[in-house]
Symmetry: C2
Subunit: 345 residues, 2 copies
DNA sequence: CAATTTTTGGCAACCGGTTGACAAGGATGG
DNA sequence: CCATCCTTGTCAACCGGTTGCCAAAAATTG
């Protein structure tokens, strides 16, 4: 213990006690049958307190760890949940991943991560592959169509984030609160022409957000125009800048923060002053949204909470509880920073 | 086939062909022994081309997928690699995760992710837990001590990113090139007093970077002072701003970009102009480093490549190749953006 | 104290693959 | 044409747990 100095080869493959003990070893040591060990360790109350203790001590002594595969084989339970995101690079998912990982591991579930690279086909493949090795699946902003998702969901529990699908448990930020706050704030600052920069067509959310913006604008008596972006990234934001200018809008709400940041950079590069000449409001409040100058005003979606909620629902379903009938909605809110404000002409 | 219109309940748990076929089903269909099926499917060349074909067709027809658990049980091979990062929230790891996931899934390995929340103990626990279910492990910027890592590495292949450990394969950005570029560039811009803002004490990298800075500064005849930060985040950067000012340095290199961004924000809030009055250089070139105004000059570590290389080495080792004797080093380079430049007094 | 019910532990089959040992069948060589 | 070697498929054991069924033991009851 004290001085490992004379050890032969520290890097050698462990042979001795390393290769983990089995319930058979425990059974021998405790003088009982392997099945009793199995029961003592996984069916609380099934064996007497006395034997339980003996077995637990033996297990402790042998430094026993269940072999997850041996367990999974007959039971199908893997203590593992899968998470598929469209794009690992996209910071929107960072918080979701984090929320899911944290909540999962708090309940002794391991998170398995896969990426679909924004492609519906890759997504389906990845989902199928994962599904066979996990107890349940979380799809964050899935790109595949509803039927595929329902098919997966027929096999094992599935929870969807950022999209509503009839018959599948969903966690969806309720955009309306945040959007109306945003639009009201813009209206209060004297804006009259509003533009919405949309995201990818496969994204269910982009439509949802546009509707919210349209409705809120109507309510506040603003005009709202919808512009399309090539891709929902900083680059896409830069590319849409010209169209924004041409639209004559003085306030822009974008499908996500990345677009907003790119848009702002491009407009500033062209000499526009934000927010004096144009206000920009993003969506999601991703990591880095406050790195910009001015810092980005944005409608925050509690992404971390989405991850957490999704895992919670999933694990509840796995324990036999019913999934919530309706989509679980989490609140969004406007985070006012420097990129939106009064028009100075 | 054509019209499933009259199907009873599409969402019902699949019973029929859903619950996947086994090699026994294939064997029956193909009229051979299950073990022949096993060989046909995993030992190329072991069965005759004719039977091979028959079996493959049958497998196809039954839509066969191996049961990973059944396979893992006798062999120990899981087609899975584990990745442990200190903090999922820290964007430094985003690219590593991404690189690892992409490379892994290209070679049909699934990535399992765990977080240590910056705690050495949690990290050891997570590592132990993961180790039993994966074929190999990647530790990104591990916080646990060398001996723990060697112990893990004695059990299964381990690759370390961002730290060098004798006897364990490592992928480490070679900071010297980037640092000397940075220091030279600062010197060329007339700076004479340099400060380095260090990261957490457990981080092996922070020392390494400080040494690089010290050596390069000496070489370029600059003075270099080392300042400590409370934590390697935006907030930590803000807190260290006063010390930086007091140090009298006109150029600052920080342990990472987060610190640099926080520092810059705080200095700007206090009326300092960057880079006119003070130059700031970060480290890593994380996502968002170019969101700031001015955009952050930084020493880029090719994090994505680190992830990729680590996975490659790991999979090579798993296939029986030898691990590289020495730490694999990937190049760093200075990315000059707006936050560094000539001093205007 | 015997009869009955409840606890508790053991036996053995099973989950779905893998693999060493072996024998039948085919090819080759002397 | 027979001996020999190689190819190819089969048998059976095994990986490490889980679980239904049963019987022995213990606890309860009349």
């Amino acid at each position: 213990m004290t001085s490992p100095g004379a050890a032969t080869a520290p890097t050698k493959r462990g042979r001795g006690e390393k290769s983990s003990a089995t319930i058979y070893d425990i059974a021998k040591l405790a003088g009982v049958n392997p099945s009793t060990v199995s029961r003592a360790l996984s069916k609380p109350g099934r064996v007497s307190a006395k034997t339980q203790k003996i077995i637990e001590d033996a297990a402790e002594q042998l430094n026993y760890q269940v072999n997850p595969f041996a367990r999974a084989l007959p039971t199908g339970r893997t203590q593992t949940i899968g998470l598929i995101v469209a794009d690992i690079t996209n910071p929107t998912f960072f918080d979701i991943i984090r929320g899911a990982e944290t909540t999962g591991s708090a309940r002794d579930y391991t998170l398995v991560l896969a990426e679909s690279a924004e492609s519906p086909e890759t997504e389906v493949t990845a989902a199928r592959r994962l599904l066979s090795t996990v107890d349940g699946l979380i799809l964050a902003s899935p790109r595949m169509d509803d039927d595929h998702i329902r098919a997966l969901s027929a096999d094992k529990p599935v929870v969807v984030i950022n999209r509503e699908i009839e018959g599948v448990p969903c966690v969806v930020p309720d955009v309306n609160k945040g959007i109306s706050e945003a639009v009201r704030s813009l209206a209060a600052n004297g804006h009259q022409k509003l533009a919405y920069v949309a995201g990818p067509a496969q994204s269910w959310m982009t439509g949802r957000r546009w509707e919210g913006v349209k409705a809120a604008a109507e309510w506040s008596k603003l005009s709202a125009a919808r512009l399309e972006s090539s891709k929902p990234t900083v680059d896409g934001g830069r590319q849409v800048a010209r169209e924004v200018l041409e639209s004559g809008a003085t306030a822009v709400i974008t499908y996500n923060d990345l677009l907003a940041i790119g848009l702002m950079q491009e407009l500033q590069a062209g000499g526009m002053r934000v927010p004096d000449q144009i206000s920009i409001v993003g969506f999601d409040d991703i990591f880095g949204a406050d790195f910009t100058t001015p810092a980005l005003t944005t409608v925050r979606s509690p992404l971390g909470e989405c991850g957490t909620r999704a895992v919670t629902i999933l694990l509840d379903v796995l324990q036999g509880h019913d999934a919530p009938e309706e989509a679980v909605s989490v609140e969004t809110e406007l985070v006012v920073r420097g990129s939106s404000g009064r028009l100075l002409t």
